[in-house]
């Protein structure tokens, strides 16, 4: 899930200077779970904007704002309300915002900062475990990703800042390499410690990413 955090009202208000009317777009997936762009938040935003003296021409919660074609279809269905608005306020991750900007020339305002791809620990508590680096090392690191869990993304063991097994950047967080080390020890495997891990191939993370599923094998296709 994409973890998002709402931009502050002050920051948003500064963006509204030239706007008299807005159409609001939320997202029924990640943004709803993160409570930045679900029904409740879209309603609260509407109240806030009307309190500022702005007109809200309408609103919609898309099932998945990141689905480009479906987002376009919904905006076509609601074209009258959309047309009346000076701008569209999108309360979803940056991917969702760009599904919208992909299908309209209208000004799009992003209400959310996309933070990371996150796992849910429990409601409201999210943890980043994967950086989508395109070159997965988990098979050698006992299922714990150092690219993400190590503050420096090191691939060959802990840095000199590790202290009693904790991270130099956050002394309340266990060093990812200590976790990898103990887990491999339990599995009686050498894993990543048996060899020198080569420098990462960042060409696999070439931007912007494009990927097409191979229908027969599911394997990655050359881009």
């Amino acid at each position: 899930m994409i973890i998002g955090g709402s931009k502050g009202r002050e920051e948003l208000e500064a963006l509204l200077e030239d706007c008299q009317s807005l159409f609001l777009i939320g997202c029924g997936s990640c943004a709803t779970v993160c409570k930045v762009g679900g029904e409740e938040e879209v309603f609260a935003a509407q109240e806030w904007l009307e309190g500022l003296g702005l007109e809200v021409t309408g609103s919609v919660i898309l099932d998945e704002a990141c689905h480009i074609m479906r987002a376009a279809r919904e905006l076509r269905r609601l074209r009258v309300q959309v047309a009346e608005a000076d701008a569209l306020l999108v309360m979803s991750c940056g991917a969702g915002v760009q599904s919208i900007s992909d299908c309209t020339e209208k000004r799009v305002l992003a209400a959310v900062n996309s933070l990371f791809l996150g796992n849910t620990r429990r409601f409201g508590q999210y943890e980043e475990k994967c950086s989508l680096c395109g070159d997965c090392i988990l098979n050698e690191t006992a299922g714990i990703c150092p690219v993400t869990n190590c503050a420096k993304g090191l691939l060959n063991g802990p840095c000199g800042g590790m202290e009693n097994g904790y991270c130099e950047v956050d002394n309340e967080r266990e060093c990812a390499w200590v976790r990898i080390y103990h887990r491999l020890e339990k599995q009686q495997r050498q894993g990543v410690f048996a060899k020198t891990v080569a420098a990462k191939d960042w060409s696999r993370k070439f931007k912007p990413g494009l990927h097409q599923l191979d229908r027969s094998s599911g394997a990655e296709r050359k881009k």
Partner: protein, 285 residues
């Protein structure tokens, strides 16, 4: 071969110290400090130490050479990607720099540019590998160099850090990737150094012990709070607290550490923070 490398290869005891490049363009103070470090064999030039932006160590290292001193150029992976690191390394070789200390680098979070993007395109092990490649005539892309550099690459290790087995694993990787000497983070306890050296000795790579002059209790507490990998133990904090002359006590502690260096290691790296005039006292047997 650099004088420093030669001395280590002859199994002689070496002394190193460090200078941080200035924040600004005037190197007068740095050169004055170098002058007060005439007793040492080589001087480490730190690379945006503590993630605080300063003059390029490459420039200061060259200036030291011009004034007759031998530098150890520190190079971290924090601020440069693999292309920048390699081109700086070739530049260093062209400027007559041979000794290298290759480091991961402190996280920008500690420094004065906390909003900067941490690079860490390579880690210290991979950087050692890259240097080895350059020495042998090829860059990271496998392309041949017209003339390959002479380097004497070293690395860092923190012997007092737990779990020690894990520290040793990375230590071994660094040796496998071409580390020819080690400089350690400051160590304050005999037991920690002893157990580390017991395991490290069989690799036959010279280890230079980091000795840090504790000037007073406040400094020791500051180090414990703010410097990654440095832990001053309770009994030393107590000694500093109870001493009538804390600096003299700090010199005594440093002298004890130098004695440990003579017993277990092949040199000491002195961190004296402006008290270079006390170096003869610290080295007195």
């Amino acid at each position: 071969m650099s004088r420093f490398a030669e001395k280590l290869s002859r199994q002689q005891f070496v002394l190193t110290a460090e200078i941080a490049p200035p924040k600004g363009v005037d190197v007068t103070l740095a050169l004055e400090k170098a002058k007060r470090l005439e007793a040492v064999d080589a001087i480490n030039i730190t690379d945006n130490q503590g993630a605080c932006m300063r003059m390029s160590p490459l420039a200061l290292a060259r200036l030291l050479i011009e004034h007759g001193y031998e530098p150890i150029l520190q190079l971290t992976c924090r601020d440069r990607n693999r292309m920048a690191l390699q081109s700086d390394l070739l530049g260093a070789a062209a400027l007559g720099i041979e000794n290298l200390l290759l480091l991961t680098g402190d996280h920008p979070r500690f420094g004065d540019h906390t909003a900067s993007r941490p690079v860490f395109d390579l880690d210290s092990v991979q950087l050692l590998q890259v240097v080895d490649g350059l020495i042998n005539g090829t860059d990271m892309a496998g392309k041949a160099l017209s003339v390959s550099p002479h380097f004497f690459p070293g690395a860092a290790v923190a012997p007092a850090t737990e779990p020690q087995q894990l520290v040793l694993k990375k230590f071994q990787k660094k040796i496998a990737c071409g580390a020819r000497f080690f400089q350690t983070q400051a160590v304050f306890q005999r037991s920690q150094l002893e157990s580390f050296m017991l395991a490290a000795d069989r690799f036959q790579v010279p280890v230079i012990l980091g000795v840090l002059l504790l000037k007073n209790l406040r400094m020791a507490e500051f180090l414990n709070r703010n410097v990654p990998g440095v832990q001053v133990p309770e009994d030393l904090l107590k000694r500093l607290e109870e001493a009538t002359d804390p600096l003299a006590e700090g010199v005594r502690i440093a002298r004890e550490m130098v004695a440990l260096g003579r017993e277990f290691c092949q040199g000491v790296h002195l961190m004296t923070f402006g008290c270079e005039d006390l170096i003869p006292q610290i080295l007195a047997e």
